[in-house]
Symmetry: C4
């Protein structure tokens, strides 16, 4: 397969001025957890599969030992207030060039569906195991901030300080060239572990924006399991107070 292959699973898809949500793997997998949870709870329907030589040369194996080539997928669903198009996936692009190319492809699809707004979902790494409910925002149009503050999003000057790397940021940036308003919503998370608790905080913001209610049950359960792991890690951390912080961080980075 050369280049990128877009497989459309339905001949005609009807959506009206949808919101485009992006939840790809990344820091703490916060965005991916929220997007997958929404797909589950809102009974979203898969309409597109995207394969690309910019993804790793890898297949994943399911419970029936059946494989699929790693890909990104697009789902649609309706809430009372508006239609939603959701982009999720196994991987982000392996190359810088691929990021630019694929993000443009995602925006082509967003435009095709007439998306009026884009939200990219992600995590913001704090480097600390202490939990925070905060959801940090960045926008491609400052007029969006007031509305988002009402939904609980926090904005801070020049934050994240290192910018946003990967699809969550780039989709935001490239939307500007197409005059589509877009915001990146980031749940605060340690950066060391998959973080369903941070995903819950981000989900609350999404529910507020879309004015919907979503059962947090499954996320809640995963969050509880993860809390136990974090508790054990904190114990270890206390016992290692003599050890320089850099080394302790190093330990955590490889978990989860």
């Amino acid at each position: 397969m050369k280049g990128t292959k877009v497989v459309r699973l339905q001949e005609e898809v009807k959506v009206n001025d949808p919101i485009f949500l992006v939840g790809l793997p990344g820091v703490g997998h916060v965005g991916k957890l929220v997007a997958e949870h929404l797909i589950e709870e809102l009974d979203a329907e898969k309409i597109i599969e995207i394969y690309s030589h910019h993804f790793p040369p890898q297949v994943l194996v399911d419970e029936n030992s059946e494989i699929h080539v790693v890909n990104n997928e697009i789902y649609v669903c309706s809430t009372g207030k508006s239609d939603i198009v959701i982009l999720v996936g196994d991987h982000q692009s392996s190359t810088g060039e691929g990021h630019y190319e694929l993000c443009d492809l995602y925006l082509d699809i967003a435009e095709e569906f007439g998306a009026q707004r884009i939200y990219t979902l992600g995590g913001f790494p704090t480097g600390q195991l202490t939990y925070s409910e905060e959801v940090l925002g960045a926008v491609n149009n400052p007029e969006l901030t007031d509305e988002l503050k009402k939904a609980g999003v926090v904005f801070k000057e020049n934050e994240p300080g290192g910018g946003i790397v990967g699809a969550s940021g780039l989709i935001l940036g490239l939307s500007k060239f197409r005059n589509i308003d877009a915001a990146c919503l980031m749940g605060l998370t340690s950066g060391y572990l998959v973080d369903p608790k941070s995903a819950q905080s981000l989900l609350k913001v999404i529910c507020s924006i879309f004015d919907i209610e979503i059962d947090e049950g499954p996320l809640e359960e995963r969050a509880k399991e993860m809390e136990k792991i974090v508790a054990r890690l904190k114990e270890v951390e206390q016992q290692q107070q003599g050890i320089p912080e850099a080394i302790r961080d190093e330990d955590l980075r490889y978990i989860g």
Copy 2:
């Protein structure tokens, strides 16, 4: 040489609805060992050489000090039951993009020959020096599993957990788009050493599938040599019981 060069050594190749076998270098070189053994024992004939800028810029030197550019090669042979087309090679692609491109080329050739089924052969790393006879399977069509179980292949939910990386997996995945049934058969192996013993286990499965008998002699000999090395490694391992496992693993990784 720009791109990829396919050198055909014969004007016309006659094969009937063959099975396509893939044994490229990988974990424990299990797939490559089996494929090369089959070529030897079944007197297979080389029909195609594939050169590509996606392979390393390297030549190998033979017993007459003659070199050849690293490549992949395709052989054909007949068994009583069916014709076989075998893909072997010195290297897999060095780049992710190359993997996608070359796997598609391999499937073009498989289709050209009218391949009705594909088996990719590989190794599954256990991280342990203890030997297991198991051959793990993954498929691109769940209907294949019953037939393969009869030949001794084991299937486990979501295994391998990290998916399958490289040509063995990708050929499986891309075959799906061409409606060719394909399975990946993986001999369990430590992952640290070239493993002719695991290759013997995988060969037994292949013989059962094709209903043929193959002399295991040469693999047996190499397996015995390797067993001696493994025995020495285990001794070292016992002497190092005080040393954390991670470090001992590190030692083994660089052998063979």
Copy 3:
């Protein structure tokens, strides 16, 4: 976005035989500091934005939480003596191939504006925290050296010994093919820290070349802050006299 996107912010730009200045991020960010300072002090006007898949897939966030995709930008301004076109940016190319492609693009723009001379600004790493006022030069035409020596630039045989890596060097080299005279001016700097003091030395040379006066105030302030950090580092260095130099260097490399 495939490839590179040049966004022109003005329909017509009037400049007469300008000098083309390049100050991209690099060793000690010396070139970037000088170029940005000139843009500020000379009230230069932004006329072009350059986006490229050769830059990292990243957005930066400003004080209003508004993002922009990392880019390079071109400004113009006038001094009494001559017009100046200034290239600055967030990043250099992430790939070797991208460096060649983008540097050629920059020279296309330089030629379009009729640039008669190019100066690329950078830092030369000494590996030592001791401050030096020296500005080292390299040229693509030996006839330039006399003129530059008068402005305070120092030339040394075969220096820098390892050549010049990145846009500062490559623009110099590729200008040769277009018969545009070009020089690289490098402020000496430790190589471990952002160095506004070295930027001041380089600014003095630029002022002499263009026969202009520029307020060094803001650079001066940043230099003073940095001097405090350097002083602390030197203290640490003295306390570590027993530790091999290689390790001490290692420590410093990660600061700033």
Copy 4:
């Protein structure tokens, strides 16, 4: 500059059925030292410069502080017996793909000049500081070995065991597709240091092949300087006999 740029310095070049010699940077810089020595002693004339985005984005600085973009160059000269075309350069390709593309370009040029034979010159790393006069050979046509043995070249089954990586090997391999006989001649060298002494051994073989005499003076001088460094290294090595070999090797790898 996109792609590769071939700059021809002369309109018409007259050479008759020349031998094509390749001496690019590599193990111990043995091939490069010999090729540059031949260019100097045989008063060879530069006829072509090759620039490419596959080389590093770098310029080198000469004794007049004048820069040139890193490149490969082609020289021609005549000996009594035959004309010689020599390829030398600052760097080999930075990418695998570039190696394939550039080696094909070199062979296009070799064919254009009607080259009847190609010798690529290189070093073969022994991993030991003990000096050996041996010059190892590999060929793309076994008929060449007898002739080369008479000139002092040694051939060993399957050596080098890891094949030959880079342009020296690939040019050999790709020549086969064009029916040009080619051999790689490798001076044995530690692999840790630039090795003018090994270059002298290789030069002797070259002189024998071409039936010419070349003053070894400059190589001899550099070899003597290097011998002093090696002597010091051996002293250090003896003092470190308690230290595992792997670590001692590590030390040497970073010298020269």
